[in-house]
Symmetry: C2
């Protein structure tokens, strides 16, 4: 009751343009933001329902309409918004065929490659708008060959086949999804000599392990006909505009040049269902695969081949320049309009996208709605908050990357942080990743928000679980979502989070509102919670006088990663001393800056209105903001120079895998295979490069010229 | 009298820590700075005398002592200063010999390679400290061959020889100094097949044209024994640390790797005097060289050879890691301590360095002294002023480059401008170069300072001369002085200036205090003037509420440079449209920002104390400051990626030559020699790249996210 009275009073007061009494402190608004009085699960559910009524793949009319929905919703919240369009290379399927000749005697099996509509599916009328299952940027062509089973298609899986004496050359690889980026599976198959690849969804991973697990709509698991579609593109952004924005009439490289760069596969492939995968598996003879390679209960025995089954695979895709729409909303900061706290989520989906990504989109709109309410109560952010709804993430992080490439000069000097949510909710359990200076803030924010699945404790407590170890915060080296351009290309501090880790109907036509309502988040409380944590991070970053960045965590993380290198270079005459030295220096400077932050925080509040003090705080904040940029190097990673960040980048053989010191890792891998003096001295060079960027970060944090 | 009274009053007032009356406006202090009451030609003369008592080549004890003199002088002016040391690769001569066998009959001539001490030379006692004449980073070795005369050693000169049927292969080239960078002469000779090169000082260029011109000490011209020494290094910074700072114990590449990079010559060379050059010339037969290639009155007829004279050239140098000292002084800004206006001049000299560079060093100390006086009268800069005295410029801009490489992250986000003076005074006549947004400020500053050689008019009026055309402002694409790392590597707006253009005793042992006193600037009034303009530029940049940058001049310059390209790509299917479009956009945004500047300037003065207003101005200034950065591209120029600036960089065949759109220029040159579809499409790509950085600059200036 008292709270309501205060809010009413505030609402009345703010309806006048001038305040006769001071506004409440920012912390009041932050508490209000995460309070139940501002949250609205019904609205979230409505947004999600509206956004997912039809499939909305990037470049389609349906997705342009979804963009307009986001735009008009933001504008209705009095958040000035606009659409930033790009013309980018997308691909759509034209024709597909897959035939199995189990052996010489049996008749060929033609696969229908169709996901089944269940009885009573409310989306049956628009199911025809779902694209035929395909791999974006797959190579068009017709191939046939004996089938070889390659487990998850990792480098080590192909190594195992080689050790078993299985020659993949000229064969078609059958591999299952789930351990690495699908594009990397096809690349690895190609490198092993395969002429084509077929990727299936094993029940063991997505089907509840077989047995009596129930599939959608009766249970949460992937139906036997369900197919995971997705992109094979290994880079970031429009493949025809590497490093620059795909604006209208811009320069583009040719398809041949795209292929030379090597981020698209050069052999045809298709995604298939668990049922089709099993059928092909039954046609494979040869040695029985090891235990780890086997399926779940009730699956046939998996053998590696080659053959006797022969697959004939044909795919034709249409590569076309399509228009995509990013929606950008801006809440201008009052004191520091030129400092940007950026929230981003993508909108385009392979099918209906209830989990991926529109649970995040609905959460974004919930954050926007609550920020509008805060404004009604007199709040305005100190710094500018930018809300971004990206397009064409599914094809290769395209919308976010093109926007970053276009605005990189401004973002490099003005972006405080980028907060990503891709899948907002796919189940229970909080998961987060960040650049390490945000670790502390992540912990604090989750300590303020109740666990939606256990109201007796905070999200932080559930995240911590019963173990004594600290919460597990992932890092942002992977290429899995729209943080990539921000972190890996221009060095902006960032985070990513979700409820649930993986969900069975991933990238299939069953990822719809019904699935969410029944299994993902029936009450939309997890959506409310993800919006609370996301918005709270943004509010702290936008409002705190001193930016809530702690570089001690960064130094600690770097130290751990450096320790991990020790074994790998043992006995190779490599010195890690420069790296350890630079990290020790960073730790020292980070400790100093923590002391300095405390001094300023403890200085009397009234001094904060003095210009001198404002500039002092701004200067300190600029150091905290720019230190992350210092981890980038203009030359970027050797052989993949778009990746400028020398601490975090994707693994070379798994675009989803996050690597610390990727340049050193690449060099060690090369050196291990070459084992020449030259290749090991290149490892030393890469160690030096990392040591130098760490030193640059220390210099920036210290704020001193040498 | 009134002025003196005001100053006394101010001095008294400022001796109290708190002002009861407001300080005078910044413009008062700026006028005071250039007034005769603060300038001190006697002190300048004293500084120059002290700095040039002994030769002080980089890496020597004498130059470390000179650093201490600068350091203690700055500290005595209450400017907190320190030394930033680096360990860098320098070279010194160990042994040299040059022998001419004029023809089969004549006995060989051994050259003494020694500059003569004249009667009464006050520096005779320290002349032994002058290094033997040599080329820094020359290849050690012994070669012999027929002599070929190659004029100024430019690409077109070697083309001419080729057309004349003169085969340079296996020969030793005799070329004269004065049109291009000496390192480029040796490189061009090597490319033409020469096995060695000998560079001499022609009387036509440095000797007053022969005839009755008097040489030093009787006249200003180079004596017949005078030798121009200098570096052949074609890059910027320590050759063993490309792209990173040469701190103690840092990573270094090997001598072999340095040679592979290609910025050091691979054939031996020596510099020689006019007298020795003439002697060799007399041994050359063959066709008579064309008129332009001939010497001055009284010179022999120049022929091109080859031979019959045969030269035997031997050089051994010592490449060694030496310690160099940059002196850095910092006057902290009151309102914006984190914005740097940087003044720089180098200290190291090939010999005594009275003109090059210590006329500039003396001017730097004069600026410092006047700033100290201003502080006594209550002035403090709004932004931080950094005074830099660089080391090892002569070897290859090493001190400044290493410092920029070490501090590049901080400088990239905080440096407002870099103001260079290398040679401060070498004669009469003002000369300046700048990035174009500084053009207007340069004109205004020179309009406020009297011409030291004609007190009836300003420097600007003399600079303008009697012509109706605008003053000629050079650009900073060349690699001639310490602005290179600031402009070409990290994109900081910059200027460079001097009185006098070229001076006859350049890089010889005659560049001493006596020469300056007799011929360069007898009354040190030109030194006073260069300090006035230099300091005034710094004061305006450090004190003006709105940064005095005008990007309309930039757009205009770009337009001119783009027009120059039209003829070069005619009929090759190349479109310059993207470039012109981006420039038109820049022009529009630059006009808008001029309007915005006026609005703010005209807003009431009292608003300037409001925090909101301060942040508005700061934001605008950040756009003006950062727009120059946007002209850089992380990939840099193709094949020479240290050069990040796509508008200004050195010409590939003359490190002193400044080029606009160097990447486009390189590509056109390549395409003209290849004339393939691919090579011309690379030209188009380079045009696109420039168009994109110009667009980025527009976006930064506009301050808007797309």
């Amino acid at each position: 009751m008292i709270k309501t009275a205060i809010l009413t009073l505030l609402a009345i007061a703010t309806s006048f343009s001038f305040f006769l009494f001071p506004l409440p402190p920012k912390s009041f608004y932050h508490s209000l933001f995460i309070s139940s009085s501002l949250s609205d699960n019904a609205s979230i559910s409505h947004h999600l329902y509206t956004l997912t009524r039809r499939p909305h793949v990037a470049g389609t009319q349906a997705n342009a309409e979804a963009a307009n929905y986001v735009l008009s919703t933001l504008n209705s919240y009095n958040i000035p918004s606009h659409i930033a369009s790009y013309q980018v290379l997308l691909t759509y399927p034209i024709s597909r065929s897959l035939t199995l000749k189990p052996n010489r005697a049996d008749p060929p099996v033609h696969f229908e490659l169709r996901q089944e509509i269940y009885d009573g599916d409310p989306y049956a009328d628009v199911a025809g708008e779902v694209l035929p299952t395909f791999h974006a940027y797959a190579k068009s062509g017709t191939v046939s060959g004996l089938v070889v089973y390659a487990n998850y298609g990792r480098v080590e899986d192909f190594d195992t086949l080689k050790e078993m004496g299985v020659n993949v050359s000229g064969c078609i690889v059958l591999a299952r999804y789930g351990q690495i980026f699908r594009g990397s599976i096809v690349q690895n198959a190609m490198k092993a000599g395969a002429v084509g690849a077929v990727l299936y969804t094993d029940r063991k991973d997505y089907g509840g392990g077989g047995g009596d697990a129930k599939w959608f709509p009766d249970g949460k698991w992937m139906p036997p006909s369900g197919v995971q579609v997705g992109s094979l593109y290994n880079g970031s952004g429009d493949p025809t505009t590497p490093g620059w924005a795909s604006t209208e009439g811009c320069e583009r490289i040719s398809e041949e040049e795209v292929e030379i760069i090597g981020d698209v596969p050069l052999i045809p492939s298709l995604p298939i269902s668990a049922a089709d995968g099993e059928k092909i598996m039954e046609s494979i003879g040869g040695p029985v695969a090891e235990e780890d390679w086997q399926g779940s209960k009730g699956s046939p025995v998996y053998r590696v081949g080659p053959g006797p089954g022969v697959l004939n695979l044909s795919y034709t895709g249409n590569q076309t320049i399509a228009t995509i729409q990013n929606v950008i909303g801006v809440i201008e900061g009052k004191e520091e309009p030129d400092r940007f706290v950026i929230l981003g989520n993508h909108r385009d989906a392979w099918t209906f996208g209830a989990v991926d990504p529109n649970s995040g989109t609905a959460a974004l709109l919930e954050v926007a709605s609550r920020l509008k309410k805060l404004q009604k109560f007199g709040w305005r952010p100190r710094r500018t908050i930018v809300l971004c709804n990206w397009d064409a993430e599914e094809y290769g992080l395209i919308g976010s990357t093109e926007w970053v490439e276009e605005n990189k000069e401004m973002l490099s000097s003005r972006a405080v942080a980028y907060l990503n949510v891709d899948i907002g909710v796919g189940g229970a359990g909080f998961h987060a990743s960040s650049t390490p200076q945000l670790d502390e803030l992540l912990k604090k924010a989750t300590q303020q928000v109740k666990d939606p699945d256990n109201s007796s404790q905070t999200i932080y407590e559930s995240w911590l679980g019963s173990s004594n170890s600290p919460v597990k915060i992932g890092r942002l080296g992977g290429g899995g979502s729209d943080y990539a351009a921000f972190v890996q290309h221009i060095g902006v501090p960032a985070s990513d989070m979700s409820f649930g880790e993986g969900y069975p109907v991933y990238h299939s036509m069953y990822d719809d509102f019904i699935w969410m309502k029944k299994f993902g988040d029936p009450m939309f409380h997890r959506h409310v919670a993800v919006a609370s944590v996301w918005g709270l991070l943004a509010l702290r970053l936008a409002d705190d006088r001193i930016l809530p960045f702690n570089y001690l965590s960064y130094a600690l993380e770097l130290q751990k990663s450096a320790k991990d290198l020790e074994d790998q270079v043992l006995g190779k005459g490599i010195s890690l001393a420069p790296l350890f030295k630079s990290i020790a220096e960073l730790e020292e400077v980070a400790a100093n800056i923590e002391t300095r932050k405390k001094e300023i925080e403890e200085s009397k509040a009234w001094t904060s209105i003095l210009t001198r003090d404002r500039m002092t705080v701004r200067e300190l904040n600029d150091r905290l903001m720019m230190a992350e940029r210092a981890f980038t190097d203009p030359d970027g990673l050797f052989g993949r120079s778009w990746y400028k960040h020398l601490i975090y980048a994707p693994s070379k053989h798994d675009d989803y895998g996050s690597k610390s010191f990727p340049g050193i890792g690449d060099a060690i891998e090369e050196a291990k295979s070459m084992d020449s003096v030259q290749s090991w001295s290149f490892v030393q060079h890469e160690i030096w490069r990392v040591a130098r960027v760490v030193r640059h970060a220390s210099l920036v944090l210290s704020g001193k010229l040498t």
